[in-house]
């Protein structure tokens, strides 16, 4: 499913669009029901996100959100590809990976909505990282290794950017809410792989440069 956020915004009833832009609080009070009748909950939230986050954000915050969206695109594609690969994921774990994939897709949709016209499309990906993980989608052990890598990387990435997005309370909170979901994912994937769900009492952040260096091999 591709969320065409910009089109959603463009297709809005002008009156509601005005309300969205003019006063978010008033919108919540006066128009939630009206809007809810014509839009599903995720769409509703996506539109409020556009209003809350998409306007007048400092460039460094936009950059962080684009960075986060890039990582979410990788994860989203990774789980879609895995779930579409027959025989890759053992039956007993399909439900878990479906759940993880559902969250990553939601993160892509939410961040895309938040970024509005600054959102990026999914980049071209190479899940084998240039052949290093040639059996990424045929060998479950490899798939698990990559899954853990992406999840732990996501946790470290969001953690590393908290200070940058802290200028906006709403974005900081959303980033933290995604951050802990990625940590839940990381824990379960590690458990499936026979590892401890954690590395210790504290999770360490990574800088944007470190994260991009780790993710770069998967960008085609």
């Amino acid at each position: 499913m591709t969320i065409q956020t910009n089109h959603l915004i463009a297709d809005l009833n002008p009156e509601i669009k005005d309300i969205l832009v003019s006063n978010r609080r008033a919108f919540f009070k006066s128009s939630a029901l009206k809007l809810g009748a014509m839009a599903s909950a995720p769409v509703l939230l996506a539109m409020t996100a556009q209003n809350a986050f998409g306007q007048e954000l400092p460039q460094e915050v936009v950059d962080v959100l684009v960075f986060a969206l890039t990582l979410e695109h990788i994860e989203d594609a990774f789980y879609r590809s895995g779930l579409e690969s027959p025989g890759l994921i053992p039956d007993e774990y399909v439900g878990i990976f479906n759940q993880i994939g559902k969250h990553e897709a939601a993160h892509v949709a939410f961040l895309s909505a938040a970024l509005g016209s600054s959102a990026i499309e999914r980049p071209a990906l190479d899940l084998t990282a240039g052949g290093k993980y040639a059996d990424a989608l045929t060998n479950f052990d490899t798939y698990l290794t990559l899954s853990q890598t992406f999840e732990d990387l996501g946790v470290a990435a969001y953690k590393g950017q908290a200070g940058v997005v802290a200028v906006n309370d709403d974005i900081l909170t959303v980033a933290l809410q995604i951050h802990s979901v990625e940590a839940r994912h990381a824990a379960i994937v590690r458990k499936i792989g026979g590892k401890k769900p954690w590395d210790g009492a504290f999770d360490e952040p990574m800088t944007k440069e470190e994260v991009l260096a780790a993710a770069a091999p998967f960008l085609a």
């Binding site: 439900g95 939601a106 953690k159 802290a166 959303v174 933290l176 951050h179 839940r184 458990k191």
Partner: protein, 219 residues
Amino acid sequence: MEIQHDNSRRRLLKWSGAAAATVAVSGAWLPNFGISAALAADLGEGDVGILNYAYALEQLEAAFYTQVIETPYEGITDEETVLLTDIRDHEIEHRDFLKTALADSAIPALEVDFSAVDFTDRASVLGTAMVFEDLGVSAYNGAGKLIEAVAYLAEAGRIVSVEARHAAAIRDLLNPNSVSFAGDDVIDENGLDVVNDPATVLAAADPFIATEVTASSLV
């Protein structure tokens, strides 16, 4: 001012922001009525208040898992012992880290009340653990925007994802190989985890903490 000493009055004051006016003078009158510092604590203001808030929660968790390991529930498996011991150690590290960071501003050691928990019963222990872990995650997620200093935000970030890992692991012990680790009861349709403000968290934690704790600046 008429001061009442009965328990209902104390319970009213616990975690109570509404009693802020009274709270402000509590430090002055508590010693006069012979209530020891160990039985009362005000979290304080600003970042100190937030850190003490986290410190209170970590104290609660550390005390809980210490008891879990001291008196293992019936039928505990080796895997469960390993995981729960790790979690205990993490919570103790979190607690001690925050205490050190707070230094002279740290609240006293809290007296806990786990009378509602049956430590011999797996479901009771793990069910309580799940509540604490999910609550901890939601507390840190909600506290982020209240933190002024970026350095403290970073430290909170180092802790919260470990709490989320705990939550997932505990949930998987309760419902193995299910979607519970990040279930729809905690993750919304936008893929976002629970966020709670201090008042909500403290109200949820209240039954487990015997010490009178006031959080006038946070709630």
